[in-house]
């Protein structure tokens, strides 16, 4: 193509670019309506008719120059479930929530952690003033967090008081098909009024896991609230003996020093070791609710209540006030922070966790003691995916640090939170 030199090609490109930007700028500053009525505007000017916009102030009572602010209006009046309490409530059999009957004992040289679960139909408050007809384990959404140590036997006696048949399906390595908690196997669904069934699972592998009802239709039984977290603490002795099970590193890379590091990390993760007391641990189950049955969610949250870990009130100018029931999560900057993060969002493919002004280490599924992602500020989880987020705020100034789903839609629909570093 001899006639088309680089110079001319460049000039043509520049002209096209200019035309494009001109058109875009024009479109942005002129509304569709004005374009449609542009002839008309000229006409009205000629007739001396006043502009249709202007000095209107009737009906506007306050003159504050604010843009308004997103966030649910009002506080939570129903106190049956408190996301702040749930955040740090672990049921170990030895201690846990009053509403969850539990026990711990030895049987054939194995620690057994026993829990009583019930399924009930109950209205829960998901945004101030907005009720959702939930199906819930022990009357709460998410269900109680079960915590055991690797190799323990978890025994869950399940009784159904709801209208539908339900199950409990655990995301642990389970070698007995009858205990899988699906309609097609073992006891199948446990119907309302049927004799209670006792599920038994060995706590393995170490990590943060998920349990949920597996009745059909699946979507409905899940998004109505029948789900929760199982945390399996790593056993430091077992880590020392089988270090390769707890890292993605190749066995040739596993040095004695790494093993010692992993054993130390395992102790901080195991609730029966003193090292664990130094860590501030939290459970966040990302969930969502379809209130109008259109297959899309109206409310998103971490631990059910929209904006529960947000600020109570804001004037839209950066002046925040904690609310009675909507308030930031207060954390001690000298302690290490650990979030057991579970994605129970229904209808959306993924959810995410994003921290402001902070990077974290992430352990996918929590099954390793070395991070699967290092120094990231956003992590994505598919439905039922979970992981451990480890944060260090020791060099941050005290104050509010936001964290939220970085699907901005989810954030503005409730999954928006703050850490208040003190």
């Amino acid at each position: 193509m001899p006639s088309l030199g680089y110079e001319r090609a460049g000039a043509v490109t520049a002209r096209l670019e200019e035309r494009l930007t001109d058109r875009l700028v024009g479109e942005q500053s002129v509304s569709r309506r004005t374009v449609l009525g542009s002839l008309g505007v000229a006409g009205s000017a000629a007739l001396g008719l006043g502009s249709t916009r202007g000095s209107a102030s009737a009906g506007h009572e306050d003159d504050e120059d604010h843009h308004g602010n997103f966030g649910a209006v009002d506080e939570y009046r129903d106190r049956d479930f408190d996301p702040h309490e749930f955040l740090r409530a672990f049921n170990t059999g030895r201690n846990g929530q009053d509403a969850v009957p539990q026990d711990v004992y030895e049987e054939d040289g194995r620690t057994v952690r026993e829990f009583e679960f019930t399924a009930v139909d109950v209205p829960i408050t998901i945004a101030p003033g907005v009720e959702f007809s939930a199906w819930a384990y022990n009357g709460q959404v998410p269900g109680p967090t079960i915590r055991a140590v690797e190799g323990d036997l978890i025994r869950v006696r399940f009784e159904n008081f709801g209208r539908h048949g339900h199950t409990i399906h655990p995301h642990v390595k389970n070698v007995n098909p009858a205990m899988d908690g699906i309609p097609q196997n073992g006891p199948g669904v446990i119907d309302a009024g049927e004799d209670p069934f006792t599920y038994e699972w060995i706590a393995q592998p170490a990590g943060v896991h998920f349990y949920h009802c597996h009745s059909l239709p699946l979507k409905e039984h899940l998004h109505r609230g029948l789900y929760g977290a199982i945390i399996v603490d790593p056993d430091p002795e077992r880590v020392r003996e089988n270090p390769a099970d707890y890292t993605n590193d190749h066995p040739s890379q596993i040095t004695d020093a790494l093993v010692e590091d992993m054993v130390a990390e395992a102790k901080t993760r195991n609730h029966e070791y003193d090292e664990n007391d130094a860590v501030d641990e939290m459970v966040m189950v990302m969930n969502s609710f379809d209130t109008n049955f259109d297959g899309g969610n109206e409310v998103y949250a971490a631990n059910t209540r929209a904006f529960a870990y947000g600020v109570g009130e804001t004037d839209g100018k950066g002046n925040w006030k904690p609310g009675e029931t909507k308030r930031p999560i207060q954390i001690d900057k000298t302690r290490r922070q650990r979030v057991y993060l579970v994605n129970a969002t229904e209808f959306d493919l993924v959810n995410s966790f994003h921290t402001h002004s902070q990077f974290f280490d992430y352990y996918d599924h929590g099954t390793t003691l070395t991070p699967t992602h290092q120094t990231i500020d956003t992590v994505m989880q598919c439905q039922a995916q979970r992981g451990i987020v480890e944060l260090d705020y020791s060099d941050h100034q005290p104050g509010l640090y936001m964290f939220h789903a970085h699907q901005s839609e989810f954030a503005e629909l409730g999954w928006m939170s703050f850490f208040e570093v003190v």
Binding site: G37, V41, T52, R53, A56, H60, G68, V73, E131
Partner: protein, 411 residues
Amino acid sequence: MSDESETDGGVVRETDARPFGLPRWVSLLLPLVLLAVVLGVFVVGSPLPETGGQPLPDVSITHTTIPDDETVVLHATNNGPDSVTISQVLVDEAYWNFEVRGAGGDRTLAPMESARVVLPYHWNPGWDLEAVLVLSDGATFHHAIVAPSETPGLTLDLLWTLALVGLFVGVIPVALGMLWFPAIRSMSDRWLHAILLFAVGVLGFLAVDAGFEALELAEQVPSAFEGTALVVLGVLGSLLLVQSVSAWRQGRAASGDSRASSGLWIAYLVALGIGLHNLAEGLAIGSSFALGRVSLGAFLVVGFMLHNVTEGPAVVAPVARGERPALGHFAALGVLAGAPVILGGWIGSLAYSPTLGAVFLAIGVGAILQVSWEIAGLVREGNGRLASATNMLAFLAGLAVMYVTDLFVAL
């Protein structure tokens, strides 16, 4: 036409003065008393078995006003039989702060109660918004705010603007149209009848057009107020009302009142019908202002002027025969037919609601229908054949002219 001789003039007949031996007032009240008793039994005793099922909440957002560039106001009405509580509001899929005003200080709307939901929202002119009311049970009610622009508040400026608009699109064209009077007067009966039929075509088109518009608006009327039924009632009501005025006039004429038998009566009736129609037209203009929905341009004004100038001859055609009325009558006819545009504009901008709009349109339709009937009668009385070829073509021309000029006025 006189039916004076056929009625009893309201004199009580003496037959069965004491049914069942009871005084007459007792027999009049008895059914009402029994009805009250039966209703009482029903309310207190609720004899029907439990029917099960719950009424669904039903809230409509009739319209939006935008008082300034930081505020959006949704006008909501509870249509359902139960109270509803607006717990949260979504704007473009985000929970937003809001205030409910006009519901007695809380966020709960009793059945048929209306309230304003005030959102502090920095909107962008021309960028659509989607607002959603979330009720306490999670039910949602959507409202799209298409191409938002500021609603002018109530100012003298606005009233003046609307008066000016009314003058241009209502009074002036009708007055101009009336200037055809001398020409119409000099016409033969045949052509006069053609002009009258042309006027009927004009009115017929207006009736159809306004009727559809009323039904369209009726869909926005909160369902608690039964929009469609309201329109039907409005049409029939005004039709019968104007008809009764007309029948009264005929009664007077038959009993020898010469004024009542003149064409001037019909001219006034036509002016009234057109005036009612123009009131609805003004309402549409005013409410478009109120909703910030008008770019009132040359097209619109020119369209309205062309549209309304044909209403002038319709008004004066009935007085083409006989003595020419005093000039004062012409002025009065012009004002009656044209000035309601101004009045409608003011009402529409101050107190817009789809309900009001639908009612006014329906009233206009009813009046127009009656007036068309009246003009047809005029032609028949003038020994004209209503369905002559000329007349039919004139009628068609009336429809066609209105259709063409209406193309300019698609608000």
